[in-house]
Symmetry: C3
Amino acid sequence: MPSTIYDVTTWTIPSAPTVTAFTDIGAVINSIIADIKTNQPSQASKPGAVIYIPPGDYSLKTRAVIDISYLQIKGSGHGFTSSSIRYNAGNTSSWWEIFPGGSRIRVENTDGNAEAFLIQRSGSPRLSSIEFIDFCLDGVSFTPNQNSYTNGKIGIRSTTDTDSVRIAGMGMVYLQRGLVITGADALAVTNNFIAECGSCIELVGSGQASLVSGNLIGAGPTGFSIFAEGHFGLLISGNNVFPRGKSSVHLKNCSNNNITGNRLHSFFAGMVTTDGACDNNLISGNHFLRNRESFPPFQGVPAPQDDLFGLIHVRGSGNTIVGNHFSFDVPPANVLPSGATPTMVLVKSGSNNYLAMNHHAANVGVRSAVLDGSTTNTKVLDSGTAAEFQALGAATYGFRATP
Amino acid sequence: MPSTIYDVTTWTIPSAPTVTAFTDIGAVINSIIADIKTNQPSQASKPGAVIYIPPGDYSLKTRAVIDISYLQIKGSGHGFTSSSIRYNAGNTSSWWEIFPGGSRIRVENTDGNAEAFLIQRSGSPRLSSIEFIDFCLDGVSFTPNQNSYTNGKIGIRSTTDTDSVRIAGMGMVYLQRGLVITGADALAVTNNFIAECGSCIELVGSGQASLVSGNLIGAGPTGFSIFAEGHFGLLISGNNVFPRGKSSVHLKNCSNNNITGNRLHSFFAGMVTTDGACDNNLISGNHFLRNRESFPPFQGVPAPQDDLFGLIHVRGSGNTIVGNHFSFDVPPANVLPSGATPTMVLVKSGSNNYLAMNHHAANVGVRSAVLDGSTTNTKVLDSGTAAEFQALGAATYGFRATP
Amino acid sequence: MPSTIYDVTTWTIPSAPTVTAFTDIGAVINSIIADIKTNQPSQASKPGAVIYIPPGDYSLKTRAVIDISYLQIKGSGHGFTSSSIRYNAGNTSSWWEIFPGGSRIRVENTDGNAEAFLIQRSGSPRLSSIEFIDFCLDGVSFTPNQNSYTNGKIGIRSTTDTDSVRIAGMGMVYLQRGLVITGADALAVTNNFIAECGSCIELVGSGQASLVSGNLIGAGPTGFSIFAEGHFGLLISGNNVFPRGKSSVHLKNCSNNNITGNRLHSFFAGMVTTDGACDNNLISGNHFLRNRESFPPFQGVPAPQDDLFGLIHVRGSGNTIVGNHFSFDVPPANVLPSGATPTMVLVKSGSNNYLAMNHHAANVGVRSAVLDGSTTNTKVLDSGTAAEFQALGAATYGFRATP
């Protein structure tokens, strides 16, 4: 049987023997995938392969296209280091090292494509069980403004439906978009380090029964740390989401999902934003910390939402928001709009939303819950004083102040 | 020193050199284990070994018996794909592939045994630190009825006590029983994909201090997704349990366990079932979705319990059920018994059970909590209206309606 | 390009060719690190390497010093077995094996140092993305008293700041201190088995945005299972912490952290202890079990705190303690001080602490919450009867008894 174990450093592209993984790892991987296909001609036996990326500095000039199931691409190190600190540090000539490392792919497409990896196949079945494990995708720079979070680069994108894909232990840094997955079923995005990317995790189109757990994540100020669209059965838990994304978790037209046990830190309101029609979601046991941007290069970035938007912004019905903690610590002069009373939870639309036993600790007076005049039958229990609660217009609700 | 690294594709069984991993990986693994023993004769130094299974299609005809500690069996891909969709898809001649893949073992015992892997050793100490990592156990078919979930096959079974076993990143599919562990101590079942099995995870006999976390799981309609018997200190968290098991989590005679932060989806009542005497368990921060089977081949399967059984069915005392969300969305014509008002939580026995701050969103009128007449001193707080609460017979309780 | 993949069993130290990984794996690793540096002279390309430790019994005589980023040290098995059971078992001559295994390093320094691994580098940037994966650090014995948990040995210690370090899948046993990390940023300590160590996980100095998740942990009676100092944004979740540590989680001067969804079991009060000024932490969805030491050799160990200390001991302000379960099952004769009413949550200092929906099941009468006379504006809701609540002196509070 031919081997199913490939090492990018020892593969030679038959048609281009001078290309190496160090000069174009994308071309090497595409050539390996072609070889895998040659070796599994039987419809009944296509077990895939593993492509190993040893620690090293690789350049990707050609997009790698994955159109086979059961391919595991694996490195030996997520290799994250902060490029943001480095680019803002001034003279780094005495530094021990200046770039990320591990099994590191510099995303440097010269093929006109944005993606380092594209997952795409038409026909049936959906691609299944593709795995990205323990290597680094580094966009290298946001030239010319290293604080812009824009360079057009995407780490991994899928454009057709997939099943049981696994993204684990990866590092992604200085990409405009880290991970963009379309039509996920039973996707697992776990234990990754995805930070200093414009947006980190975007689950677009639709999806179901997926996990985003145990990740260390932090997007840029105009991007998403975790975004999901049209998903149900998504479990977002155990993540440590640090700034500076415009939100920590953003759900769009997502019902019956779970945001539980995360640690969320942001410089803006809208930390958990629901958008469109988002019904029957559970938001429980999360720690929210909203304070002011501490890194001078970013202190001038305008807030994407003001402080009346809510640390949690709810659109939709039947959502359950319980057992969360809110820390709010923003200098009064930086509250927006000036002089406003910041909102912890804003129920913007819908009925039968349920808020209970959420507690806040704030350096200024806040509203623990605000109900839009369009909302009906909201419950707000033990989540603050009567003075901290505000029901606008014709809102209907049950309210019990914290004794 | 002899190598402790084995590759199933390069091993030759001394007594049967024509057998390969492709023809009988079980016989190969048994031969490797015999070699490991030969190489570690000292009681004071038996570090075990790693057996590597590269991506490939392997057949297991002979049960592999693990009777040494510190054996890691590792592949490079869980290889899940839906066999259920495929077998119900009609003509699949144009499909790219039709079977699971990765490091895939077809469980095809011809030795009269049910198990692919048996963990068993008498004497002291218990077997410790056996690890199954990142490969696929595929039962291939449920002949003659591919929707029967019965073929007598078991993926991994232990019959003697173990300590610190780890099952991680595995794929299991089309087995009647995926994982059956007896007498577990400090077991970790994490990040696996175990679906389309009759039952998925069964922890039997007794056990303690174990983890079932971060798994994607879904059993057949007569089986268990997660079952535990006689366990204490079991932490079931962060799992995404999809249909169609007869329950999502079933505890039998289990006290002092934790079911927290899971996403549970079922087509039946009894999503969390406690059975026998189950005391002092915590069920918190879980999302429950109960709707109707959507896949036509299974719509005729009879419900194992009617809708009065409770999405959570409590037997025992001192249990804490807080901060859960229930979505109930079943066409009224499909509610059982006909015309019944479905129950979210049924407290069937015991005293000092505590339900608080559980919220539901339902398409029909429901009972948020029902107390059997035998129950005493139950607390039901902020979990629905007075009309949604029902205390039968001589039940004693404290109740506070959601305002 | 030189290889970045090293195997400790095949490396020869140029200056000491007779030393092997079996005689001194620390010296071998130091020699490998020197070689890695030789091979990455460019500041712009220092991707690191992977050092592989196959299953085997290795001795470490010389401390390994890690002063490069992106180094992954990886084995094939955490190899935990209980040495405590073995040392207390009497005659073990008939046992199958008597020591831990897997990729096992016996920590046997003869160099005068305490640590097996030291992470240390001055200058900029901080060391990043060092990874310890899936091997065993075994202190071998606590001579002369195997139940003393003292031998001066430390598994892994860092003394300078680090970023994005990962400790995953490790086993540690019979070390006085398992893991000691100074100045962590975005550290991930996940899926480890660290038990029968004096202390298990100590995050000292300060730190931020880190994860301690999915671990199986249990310290000795005078040590810490999980200790953190000066941290914010630490997420401690999904851990199974078993006895016999003097606490399960100990926070010192830590604000804005999350202790969620853990299973905690202890033989002492002070299971979650906050110490110094600990503000705005969330403690939710945890299962606490406090019962009596069951292992005869340890039943005489004096309790580090009496039962008035609280299973949760709170110092600081703005903390949120919601949705936890407490099981208390201690023979009345063993409650300390004799005849005392044990305390579930003691609020010892601070203001604006919030306790709600915590439930207990106890074999004796308990206080569900006690407020020190110095505390102000505490809230205690639905966490027990009026008789179970005690506010001392001038404490101010809001209280609502469970109905």
